[in-house]
Subunit: 335 residues, 2 copies
Amino acid sequence: MVTLAEVAQHAGVSASTVSYVLSGKRSISLGTKERVERSIRELGYHPNAGARALASSKSNVIALMVPLRTDMYVPVMMEIAIAVATTARAHGYDVLLLTGEEGAPAVRRVTGSGLADAMIVMDVELDDERLPLLRAGDRPSVLIGLPADTDQLTCVDLDFTAAGALCVEHLAGLGHRDIAVIGEDPAVYERHTGFAERTLDGLRTRARDLDVRLLHRPSVGGYDAMAATLARIFDERPATTGFVVQNESAVEPLLALLRQQGRAVPEDVSVLAICPDQVALQASVRLSSVSIPAEEMGRQAVERVMAKLQAGGEGGVRLLAPELTVRASTGPVSR
Amino acid sequence: MVTLAEVAQHAGVSASTVSYVLSGKRSISLGTKERVERSIRELGYHPNAGARALASSKSNVIALMVPLRTDMYVPVMMEIAIAVATTARAHGYDVLLLTGEEGAPAVRRVTGSGLADAMIVMDVELDDERLPLLRAGDRPSVLIGLPADTDQLTCVDLDFTAAGALCVEHLAGLGHRDIAVIGEDPAVYERHTGFAERTLDGLRTRARDLDVRLLHRPSVGGYDAMAATLARIFDERPATTGFVVQNESAVEPLLALLRQQGRAVPEDVSVLAICPDQVALQASVRLSSVSIPAEEMGRQAVERVMAKLQAGGEGGVRLLAPELTVRASTGPVSR
DNA sequence: GAGAATGGTTGAAGCGCTTCGAAAACATTG
DNA sequence: CAATGTTTTCGAAGCGCTTCAACCATTCTC
């Protein structure tokens, strides 16, 4: 293992000079700079991360807490995680992967040990046990998702309330008066995950405004469950002509069942999804959808962390505006 | 930030004693041990990771390189990643998330800097640029997947060759003589990812043995592509009665299209998938399948890393035996 | 009851780096 | 050319921990 001292000796300068060449925190003459850089290359020097962290009390690592549950759509999580890792690298940071299961102790451990300089937390619950620690703010943190009380917190998320409203607007604009909402797994609501409830809020409020009847049904994924759910819906509201789906694993079963029942999409019923574009495009009907900008969320989270680390960063909530793309699954209601 | 020295002072012992209490590397009297542990708790002490890494030249971190491509089934990747993180934590290690995109330089950076003590690499290609570095073996490494030359390497993977063979056996045993294989995205084959080719090997070899005709068609996911692929298959081999699918995003389109064409599963055609159990269970027909033991792979990879870190670990390839579960999508061929 | 073995504890060195204050080298000015 | 300013380089301290050699106090052995 090559050390700074060896590089210094090889280049005929002192250790501190090498350090300053590396960090650029002091001006170095062009000559020595090049000499040092050549030595670094020739010796294959890599600064020791531990020593660096110790001396500078910065680890150049940010921790990412991902949920380990699988009742939410996994590709979205993964896309966020990848975006976080990629963006962090672009800033010279590495990413430490933490599972949400460890909860608050993990937060304490990581911030306490200086393993990471900052933390990004995904899938926060409305009243999450980790919030007090993050608020205490020994280290900067950014949440992806929105808890109930965002005071002193920095959050990034899709504006699900607006997304819900947008869905109702779109369908109402097409003349739909009875809309069924196929929601996430009941477990998601029971956990009081923010996004699910906020979507519902947006849906309901706008439905009231626009005089639309709304029926909300959480649903686990899969065909059997969906079949039962769908039967109940048409039983209760036979006039239903519009569907809003916020559950990736319910999309395809819903479409298949509708087809099977002889209800054409979008002629007889319209289906609008809140899902990643990829899902909307790969479905058996190209779905009109409000997209989940996973990558954008991951990137923004990192950018905000960086801003906070450089002390210029402001807290507060940043909600991404939802975007609705009309594809082939929604159309005017037939009389 | 509380330091070891402060704990020592608080407990009325020397710093080294505290260190030994923490590491257990020397015997400590019960009395002082308890006194130290109380001080640690009272002061809320967390050892500084950087200082530890520096002094002991072990970071207690293992790096995990995940592919950033999305042409493979993401939930499997995620499940492996989570299993790795969870298992690593159980051994007192943290996980650093690296994207495959960074390639060999990332390997150099991480091993060179001592950021991680070991490395787990997912999605290796048959002739991967990272292999020479991993073989050089400054640090222990474990691959999830199998390159062409496994010499001096430690690998964990599903035995895809056996999986392929198993598929043919099962279908041949049911009387199927013409089998079509719906493969991964062509890009996967072009990249020469090991598992896809090995599966094909197993399929072909056993097909030859059992006198079964095999038609292999890579396929991107989605309905349109699948429709075209399926048409070509029945065009070329009208007698096809069995399908082996190794592409999660082709499963549902295939089932839907078969249904649409009036071919009943499993009465008219049998469909056998190589996919995670969850996919097999959530499909519109409960699929007979060879499961991808993602979690098991992640766990095993970590266990092997740990073994190597404790110097007792042996290299070599460990292949997990495939398991075929018969569900509702395969049956005897109809005359 | 002297000497050896054992268990418990300590002080000090050092891991490889950053960073501060100051020295050295050079350039600028009256 | 002495005095001053500026740029470049250096030495040394110290970050918080591990670990080695050494020490002291017991207990054991014959």
